[in-house]
Each structure stands twice: as C-alpha cells, then as structure tokens.
C-alpha cells in the first residue's frame, strides 16, 4: 500500500470535517445572507466587513483568538464547560467551530450574491399572488438562489479541506482527532519523507479534481451555466 493507514485516517478525518462544516454553515448562514441581501440597515456595512474578515486575516491570527476564547478562561471555554462539554481546543469539535469561522465568508457571499442578483421583482410578484414573507422565502427565494447555494457548498467544502494554520493553532496534531491531511503532509515533509508526501499530495489532487469535475457535470446537466465563484 502506497498510503499508510495514518494517511488514510487523515483523509477520512479531513472529508468528515469538511462535510460537517459545510452542512452546518449552509444552515446557519442562510438567514444571515438573506438579511444582508435584503436589509437597508446601517449595520449592513459593519456586519459585511466582519463576515469578510477571515478572507484577509492570517489564519494564525484567527486561530490565536479562537484558542484564547476556547481556553479555560475564554468566554467560549466558560460556556462549553458550563454545558458540561469540556474544553474545545485539541478536539475534533474545536476544529469544527474554528472552521465555521474560517470558512464563513466563502459560504455567505455566494448565497448573498444569489439573493441580491435575483432582485426584488420575483418577490413582489409572489406578494401579489398572496404569498406571505415566509412563503416567498421558501417558494421563491430559496429555489431561485439554488446556484448560489451550490457554489457556496463547493467553496465552503474546498476551503475547509485546505486549512492549515487554524488547525495547527486549535487542534494541534492528534492522530484520528485533529490530524487532517494538510498537517499529515507537513509532518511527512518535516520528516523528509518526500515519497510519502508525494503520494498523499497526489491523492488529494486527484480527489479534489474529480470532485470539482463531477460537480460541474451535475451543474451542466441541470442546465446551469457553469460554476460562478462568488456569484
């Protein structure tokens, strides 16, 4: 076998993490994206800026603040301890929470853009057809923004697979718990196991390419005009 058991474990862990994070983000972020797309509130600009922060901040900075917050004296740590969940750093759950923050803008923005590009007209039409606000959201806004959700899921998933800095700060390097592919690869290189590193990197390359290719074929079949990142 060209990949060690540890390599496979890291791959499984990475895919698991990315799936959980993408699913949670899609659920949590939809109301936020809807609010950002619809609101004329003065809070829109600061909230947008806050959401976009992970795009520009070095991952280690995000990781550092999260580590402090999740620690025994941090506010998040206090909450998790009070709930009897223990502390999050160096656990899979800790990685999930950190990834939610880290991948947030990649999921918010495509959905927000999709809601915005839909415009007010379909919602106005639905209102004249006796559809109330919730009805309009579920029967018009969600289906018409489907391309945005698709892009958001792909971007969120891919971005979570690729994270490294945040993982090192929060999760460290615990096999089967927090040792994701990017960390495993770093370990191989550190240990000068270049052949092992080649195989792991190559497998990820093929895996990601296959994933994206498959998705774009699905899109094509659905009659969509190709994946639009951030749109």
């Amino acid at each position: 076998m060209l990949l060690t058991d540890q390599d496979w474990q890291a791959i499984r862990l990475t895919l698991h993490l990315a799936s959980v994070v993408t699913l949670l983000l899609l659920l949590m972020v939809t109301p936020l994206a809807w609010w950002l797309a619809q609101t004329q509130s003065r809070l829109k600009a600061p909230v947008s800026a806050l959401v976009a922060m992970p795009l520009v901040l070095p991952p280690t900075v995000i990781g550092f603040y999260l580590l402090i917050a999740m620690g025994p004296d941090g506010w998040l740590g206090q909450v998790t301890q009070a709930l009897g969940l223990g502390l999050l750093p160096f656990t899979f759950e800790g990685l999930v929470v950190a990834s939610l923050v880290y991948s947030l803008p990649f999921v918010v923005q495509p959905i927000q853009n999709a809601f915005e590009s839909m415009g007010q007209r379909p919602l106005e039409v639905a209102a004249t057809l006796r559809a109330g606000p919730w009805d309009r959201f579920f029967t018009i806004a969600l289906p018409q923004a489907r391309r945005g959700f698709f892009s958001a899921a792909v971007l969120g998933f891919a971005h979570t697979i690729g994270e490294f800095g945040v993982v090192l700060m929060i999760g460290g390097n615990i096999a089967g718990e927090t040792r994701v592919v990017s960390v495993q690869l770093y370990d191989h290189v550190e240990a000068l196991q270049y052949e092992q590193a080649h195989w792991l990197a190559g497998v990820m390359l093929v895996l990601c390419f296959t994933l994206l290719l498959g998705l774009s074929l699905v899109q094509k079949r659905a009659g969509w005009s190709g994946m639009k990142y951030g749109a």
Partner: protein, 365 residues
C-alpha cells in the same frame, strides 16, 4: 376618508402622496370599480408609481386607499400586498424562472382568494390561449406568450381588481397586435375591473372606458374615455400623432362597395367594412395628418368623406412648416395638420368655413 354611501362601494378612493428621488406623485381621486380604467400619461408621469402604491409595493407612499369600504391604507396602517385582493401584471415578463408555465399558474391557483374550479381554470387558459404551453419553461416562450401566461396567472388568484402596468410596452408591434385581442376578450368577458397603465394611445383607445391622465405626478384630466380623447385639450404623450377619437354607431351597410356608414354627433363617415365589426357604439380615430381642408366641396375628389366645418383655432408647430388646425364639425371637434403655406394660401382664420376631407379613419373598437 370614509365612504359615505352605498354608491361608493363600487369605487376605489385614492389619496396619495409619494416622493422619491426628486419625483413626486400627489393624487386625490375616486375611480369606478367597473370596466377598464386607463391611467394614461408620458413616461415619468407617475403611472407606474400610482399602481405600485395601490398594490402596496411602495412602502414610503403616504395617504389612504379604500376599495369600496375595505381599507388598504390609512394613516399609520398599511395592508401588506399579499393581503390585498388584487392581481398585478408587470411591464416585463415576470414569470418565475424556476417553475414551468403550469407551475407558475398553479402557484396562483393554490393561493387564490376563492377556489378555482377546473372549469374556471380552463376558461382562463382558453381566454389567454395558453393551453398548449403548459409544459414549457418560461425561457422557451416568446415575449407575447410570457405576458399572456402572466395575465392568466394574475387572473387565477381571483382578485377583486386587476392592475396592469404597461403589459405591452416591452413587446414589439407584431406581439402587441397578438395580445390586444386577448385583452379585448378579457374586457368583453367582464371578469373584473381593470386599472390599465399605458402611454400608448392605441391601447387606451381600444380598451379604456374611463381615462385618467397624469402629468408630472398630478392628475391632469379624468372622465369617460371617449369624451376625453375627443377633446382637443387632452394632453397627449410626446411622440403620439395628434388626432381625435369620435364615438358613433353604424347606421348603414353598403354590401356592394363593402362600406359602412358611421353616424356621429356632427355628421356621417364612410369606412371600409371589416369582419371584426360589431353592433353598438364604435370608436373611430382620425389622425390630424389624414385630414385636409378645401374652401369649396370637391365633388371630383377620390376622398369619400367630405364634411362642412368651421375653423376654431390655428396652432403653429415647432418646426415652423406645419400648422395644426382645430375645427368643429357639428358638435364634434376635429384636428387637421396642414402646411403653413396652405393655410396662408387658403386664408384660414378663426370662424372661416371650410370643407374637411378625411382621407382615412381607423376604427379602433
């Protein structure tokens, strides 16, 4: 504003004040909830804003709206759009792109104010001629077809009032001619009162019973469409050929020459007979450019319609070459557009008697 009597049940009371980006709409009127009421004016006159305020789509609109005794808007109160019993046809095709034609129609049917029976459903589909399109997606339809589906969809909600915002404006001439008969069908079926926004004289002449003329957000004129369109002071949107609308009725049919005689208040006109003609009141549109003037009656002219008239006013056009002559023929007003040179040559002045030659007249309804 509270309705005072039972007669008001059949009216919509509107008092509106709406300002946006340097434009303001200020209106206080009552419209009959019967037949087709056209809201007429050039673009930017506030027609669409008025309709959107009525539908509750403009949240910054102040004032009050009562449909009969049902309050839609009053001080501190606004009935949300989805609770107002109205149908709305937007200017451009507004079908839901994620649904098929059937899906779009069912969206309305499911939410209708009263249950839509299969019979009614098929009647409406039939009225708009869209039965063959049901399985299509909206992008597979022509502009005219889309607009017919949108009209059917608005009817399927079973509203008390149908608002139409220039439903033909986004279509080319051929498509307009394709849809107009469907609209006339709709009117003839008298399913419900319609407020019809338009800047096109042809649509208004063919459809309107009542006319509301807007200019710069103000009510300019309001009244029965025939009387208002025939009056010389009716402000026309720019780009419209000046002319008048006569109301009359058929008094004679000449099968040999395939002509009909229309009598109006002031005289009679011969028009070519076409199949679509019906009995009852007719509307005839006479454009100023199709009217010429002579001092004596020309018996040897090819022009069929010659009527005696009196010059009432002369109005120079901006290009300096042409002149618009207001005439009275009996009790009816006519407009003639002639060159200034001819006017001088004929010695036209107020009160002068002339013969009015009408080269062609179009029957609009």
């Amino acid at each position: 504003m509270v309705p005072e009597s039972n007669a008001d049940q059949m009216r919509i009371h509107i008092r509106l004040d709406f300002a946006e980006d340097g434009f303001s709409l200020c209106l206080d009127t009552r419209l009959p909830l019967k037949g087709v009421t056209a809201i007429f004016g050039r673009s930017g006159s506030g027609k669409t804003s008025l309709l959107r305020c009525l539908a509750g789509l403009e949240t910054r609109c102040q004032g009050s709206i009562y449909l009969g005794d049902q309050c839609w808007q009053a001080k501190g109160y606004r009935l949300p759009t989805h609770k107002r019993p109205l149908g709305y046809v937007f200017q451009e095709a507004s079908l839901f792109e994620h649904l098929s034609v059937r899906g779009n129609l069912d969206y309305a049917r499911k939410r209708a104010w009263q249950q839509v029976t299969d019979e009614e459903y098929h009647h409406i589909l039939d009225l708009m001629g869209i039965e063959p399109l049901l399985q299509r997606r909206s992008y597979q339809l022509s502009g005219g077809e889309r607009q017919r589906v949108a009209i059917a969809r608005a009817l399927l909600i079973k509203p008390s009032l149908l608002l139409m915002d220039e439903p033909l404006a986004a279509l080319d001439q051929a498509r307009k001619q394709e849809i107009l008969p469907y609209l006339e069908q709709l009117k003839a079926n008298a399913l419900l009162p319609i407020l019809y926004v338009s800047h096109a004289l042809e649509e208004v002449s063919r459809l309107a019973d009542t006319l509301l003329v807007l200019e710069s957000g103000q009510l300019k004129a309001q009244g029965a469409a025939g009387a208002l369109l025939a009056s010389l002071d009716c402000p026309l949107p720019t780009g419209e050929e000046p002319g008048v609308l006569l109301e009359g009725s058929i008094v004679e049919r000449d099968q040999q020459w395939n002509l009909v005689k229309i009598a109006f208040d002031g005289g009679e006109l011969w028009l070519s007979q076409s199949e679509s003609w019906h009995s009852g009141p007719m509307r005839v549109r006479i454009l100023a450019r199709d009217v010429s003037l002579t001092l004596a009656e020309h018996q040897d002219s090819s022009i069929l319609n010659r009527l005696p008239g009196v010059v009432r006013a002369l109005q120079k056009e901006s290009d300096g070459a042409m002149i618009l002559v207001r005439l009275s023929v009996g009790n009816t007003a006519l407009l003639a557009r002639i060159s200034r040179r001819s006017a001088v040559h004929l010695g036209l002045c107020e009160g002068k008697s002339v013969w009015v030659q009408i080269k062609s007249a179009a029957l609009v309804r």
